[in-house]
Amino acid sequence: MRCPSKKDWVLFYYQEKDSLPREILQNHLLSCLACRNDYAALSGFLSRVERKNIQISEFELDKIIATATKPAARPYEWIRRLKEQIAENLARAKPLIYKPQFIMITIVIAILAAIAPFTIYKPVRLAQEDIAEVEVELALDDNSNLDILSELLGPEDFNENYSGLSIA
């Protein structure tokens, strides 16, 4: 049998398994001197990595719990909470950027944003043009009306009464 990987031995030490069942690894240790030596070194090292639990006194724990449950003891709590919430939401939103749906939606919004000025504002511009056209026509009508009036009244009377109005 081929020697198991280093990963297999680490998981064997922690009594977890990867691809190989525990019994196979145990049997391999009995039959392979190289792996036996390697595993002895690895397990020796890991067992020397201190595992003792950290402890605090009951008094200290009571103090910590009392502080933790008393919101008034923490000034500007709401600012901290708000900051935390924003940070959390940002962290949650981050992976969204990498999703294809997000990219698609962004592209669609960008295209719409590029097209929108030409489609949404066009009717407004046309309406304004129409108003201007009517205004010009009305002005021209006014001028022709003045012409008729001037002919009817004669230039003297006309100038006397309507001298403020110009004739195009």
Binding site: K6, K7, V10, L11, Y13, Y14, E16, D18, A41, L42, F45, L46, R48, V49, E50, R51, N53, I54, Q55, I56, E60, L61, I64, I65, T67, A68, T69, R74, R81
Partner: protein, 182 residues
């Protein structure tokens, strides 16, 4: 985490949500050792670990209302502990400063090498502090806290195979770093 402890948490949470504030004191008392043990492994000293423990208890107290009993309380608690410890590490000026501090400590200790245990512990602390974040997370939860691969994958929100890979990388990296030093 022990199943009985999980059951105890469940009952206490129900009691707390039912309007009994004393139940939180019991939750905190039951949970504090596990939380302290985790944050200490990240922060490397008891004072910072106590601050982080307080921070974790504040977050639990504040968010217990929104905790969904569909997930295990211990998984949720470990996640908060890991994130709080990582936050505290980020708040420290930089990881380099931390490394420098450990190196300074180890230099001081190496001058008195006859006291081999504290020296070795300091070297291991330093080596763990220098591990990449994911390897550090997995190693602390497995080696010190004894969680299963599945529990770790739930706490960290990654796949079991990724947990296995990071665990083996962490263990081998630590061993390589410590080789010939202790």
């Amino acid at each position: 985490m022990h199943i009985n402890k999980e059951e105890a948490f469940k009952e206490l949470i129900e009691s707390f949500l039912g309007g009994n504030p004393d139940a939180f004191v019991k939750i905190a008392t039951l949970a504090h050792a596990d939380i302290l043990n985790i944050v200490y492994r990240y922060l490397g000293n008891l004072e910072d670990a106590k601050d982080a423990l307080q921070e974790v208890l504040i977050k639990i107290h504040r968010n217990l209302q929104s905790f969904r009993s569909a997930s295990r309380f211990s998984t949720w608690m470990y996640r908060i502990a890991v994130n709080t410890a990582l936050d505290a590490l980020r708040k420290r000026k930089s990881q380099i400063c931390l490394k420098d501090r450990y190196l300074k400590d180890t230099k001081e200790l190496s001058s008195q090498k006859e006291n081999i245990e504290p020296y070795r512990e300091m070297m291991i602390k330093s080596a763990i502090a220098q591990l990449p974040r994911r390897q550090k997370n997995v190693f602390i939860l497995k080696h010190y806290q004894g969680l299963t691969i599945e529990e770790i994958s739930n706490v960290l929100g990654c796949s079991a195979s990724s947990v296995k890979t990071h665990l083996s990388r962490a263990a081998l990296a630590l061993r390589n770093k410590m080789e010939g030093k202790v």
